[in-house]
Amino acid sequence: MSQNKSLLQLRGISKIFSKGTIDEVTALDNIKLDVNAEDYITIIGSNGAGKTTLLNVIGGVFPPERGGKVIISGNDITGFSEYKHAIYVGRVYQDPHIGTAARMTVEENLAMAVLRGQPRGLRPATNKQRRELFRSALAPLSLGLEDRLNAQVGTLSSGQRQAVALVMATISKPALLLLDEHTANLDPRTAQLVLDLTEVIVQREKMTTIMVTHNMELALRYGNRLIMMHEGKIVVDLNQKQRAGLTIDDLIVAFEQASGRRFIEDNILLRR
C-alpha cells in the first residue's frame, strides 16, 4: 500500500431501501469519498440526507448496492459482515445503550472492547495489566469511573455510559472512528464533556474520524474537513482552508447554492 493512498475509499456507494416497491428510497446516490489518514471529518445534513446510512455502510451494518466498494487501509471489505468491519472501525452511537452492555461491569465492557480485531481465546478476560490499562483510559474522563470498574454499566448515567462507549470505541485504536450524533441525546453540559473528551482522544491517538451531526456549530468547531449531504449525495465538501472563518450563515448559503433549494425548508431539521 502506497503512503499517499487514503485510509478510507468509498467508490460508487449507493443504497436503495424497499427496492421495487412504491416506498423505494434512494438513501445514498453514487457516493465517492476519500478519507485521508488523520482526517477529522464532520458530516452535516437534514434528516434523510443519508448520513447515518453512509456510516452504516462504512460500519458494515449492510452492504452497498452492487458495484459499490468500501476499501479501508487498502483492504476491500465490501460485503463483509459487520463484525469484520469492526476490526477497522470503532463506532459510537447516538444512544448510549447501544454502545455498552448494561448488565455487565465497566471492566467487562472494556475487556470486550480491548480485544477488537484480535482473536479471543481461553485466557481470563481481565487481568491486572488490563485493569491498569482500563483505569488509565478512564481517568481522563474525570468521572471517577476508574474507581468503579466493578459497577454495572446499567447503574451509570447516560453521560457516563456514553463516555464509556467512547473509550470502548477507541481503546483498541481502530483505523477509523465513526461518531453518529454521539452527543445528541445528552444534556448540554454532558454533551460538552463527551465532545471535549472526543477531541482529546482523537488528537492524542491521531485517529481518523468521521462525525455525523445535526448541529452546524459543532460541524464548524470540530474537525478539519466539512461535508454536507443532501438527498443521498455529498453536496458540499470543504477542506480546512475553505472552512476557516466560515460562519453558520456562510454554510447555509453554501448549502443553498449546492442543493438549489431554499434552506428555510430544512431549517427546523438542521438546527443551528
Binding site: 459482515s81 469492526a86 454502545g99 452492555a101 455487565m104 467487562e108 470486550m112 479471543r120 481461553l122
Partner: protein
C-alpha cells in the same frame, strides 16, 4: 419421622444436583444468551435414550454417558443454526426441535422405552469402586456431586475467559458485541450447544439412576429448568456468574424438595404440573410485589 425427613432431603439433594444441570443449561440460554430455548424437552430425552441404547449394546457406561453430552451439543447446535442461519425465531426453533426430537428419540430406542435392568450403569461402576451396595443413595449423591462440581468449575472458568465474556455479552447487547468485532452467531451456536449438552448429560444420568429411558421423560423439563432458575433467583438474589449457577442448582433442589414433599403428602402425580406452574408464578410474583410495595420502577413484561 426423622428417617423420612432424611430420605426426602437426601433424595431431593441428589435430584437437585442432577436437575441442577438442566437448570444451569436453561440459565445459559435464557439468562446468559437471552435465548428462550425449548429444545430442552427433546435433548434431555435424547441424552437418556442415547446412553440407554449404548449401554444395552454393551458400551461402557462412562463413554455412553459422554455420548449423551455429544448428542445434546449436536441438538443445541441445530437449534442455533435454525435461529442464526435460517433466522427462525428462537422460540419456534426450539419448539420445532422439541417436536422433531420426539420422533428421533423413538427411533433411537426402537420403542417408547428401554429398560436398563440387569445392565451395568455408571452408578454400578461407582458403587463397585466405593464398595457400596448398588442402588444406595450415597452412590447416587456421590455421582451427582462429582458431575455437578466438574460442570460448575469448568463453566465458572469458561464464562470468565475472553470467549466466555463475549458469550455473556452477546445476550446482553448483541449489537455492541458485533460492533466490537465478534461473530455473535457463533456465540449463539456455542451457547445453545453447551446448554443442551448439559441437558443431555442430565438425561443420561437420570436414565441410569431410574433404570430406564422413556420417550416421555423429557416432557416438562424446560418448565422445571425455568422454575429452578426463577426460584433460585427469587430466593438467593445472586449476582455474578458463579452465584447465578449455584442459585440455579439451589433452585432445582428447592423445586425437587417441594415436589417430593407434595407427593409424600399424598398429592396425585397428575397434579404436579399444576403445582409447578403455581410455583413459577409465585416465584415471579414475589419480586414484582416486593418492588411494587417499595414503589420501585418495574420494567414492562417481556413478550418473546
Amino acid at each position: 419421622m426423622l428417617d423420612i425427613a432424611g430420605s426426602v432431603l437426601s433424595f431431593s439433594f441428589y435430584e437437585g444436583l442432577v436437575f441442577g444441570l438442566v437448570a444451569i443449561g436453561v440459565y445459559l440460554t435464557l439468562r446468559v444468551l437471552a435465548f428462550p430455548d425449548l429444545t430442552v424437552d427433546g435433548s434431555y430425552t435424547l441424552g437418556g435414550a442415547t446412553t440407554a441404547v449404548l449401554i444395552v449394546n454393551g458400551v461402557h457406561p462412562v463413554p455412553a454417558t459422554l455420548a449423551a453430552i455429544g448428542v445434546g451439543l449436536g441438538a443445541g447446535l441445530v437449534t442455533g443454526v435454525l435461529n442464526t442461519k435460517l433466522r427462525l425465531p428462537a422460540l419456534l426453533a426450539g419448539i420445532l426441535m422439541m417436536v422433531g426430537l420426539y420422533s428421533i428419540n423413538l427411533r433411537i430406542m426402537g420403542g417408547a422405552n428401554l429398560s436398563l435392568l440387569r445392565q451395568v450403569t455408571a452408578f454400578d461402576k461407582v458403587a463397585e469402586v466405593l464398595g457400596l451396595s448398588h442402588g444406595s443413595i450415597v452412590v447416587s449423591i456421590t455421582v451427582a456431586i462429582a458431575i455437578a462440581v466438574v460442570v460448575f468449575f469448568i463453566l465458572n472458568w469458561f464464562l470468565r475467559t475472553e470467549i466466555g465474556l463475549a458469550l455473556r455479552a452477546t445476550g446482553d447487547n448483541e449489537q455492541m458485541v458485533r460492533s466490537l468485532g465478534v461473530d455473535t452467531d457463533k456465540n449463539v451456536l456455542m451457547g445453545c450447544a453447551i446448554s443442551n449438552g448439559l441437558v443431555g448429560l442430565a438425561g443420561a444420568v437420570v436414565a441410569q439412576g431410574q433404570g430406564f429411558a422413556d420417550v416421555g421423560m423429557g416432557i416438562g423439563m424446560i418448565v422445571m429448568g425455568l422454575a429452578s432458575v426463577i426460584i433460585g433467583e427469587a430466593l438467593f438474589r445472586p449476582r455474578g456468574v458463579a452465584r447465578l449457577m449455584l442459585a440455579a442448582i439451589g433452585g432445582a433442589f428447592c423445586y425437587r424438595l417441594f415436589i417430593t414433599i407434595a407427593l409424600r403428602l399424598g398429592m396425585a402425580p397428575g397434579d404436579l404440573k399444576l403445582i409447578t406452574a403455581v410455583l413459577v408464578v409465585i416465584a415471579l410474583a414475589v419480586p414484582f410485589i416486593r418492588k411494587k410495595l417499595r414503589h420501585e420502577w418495574i420494567p414492562p413484561a417481556v413478550r418473546w
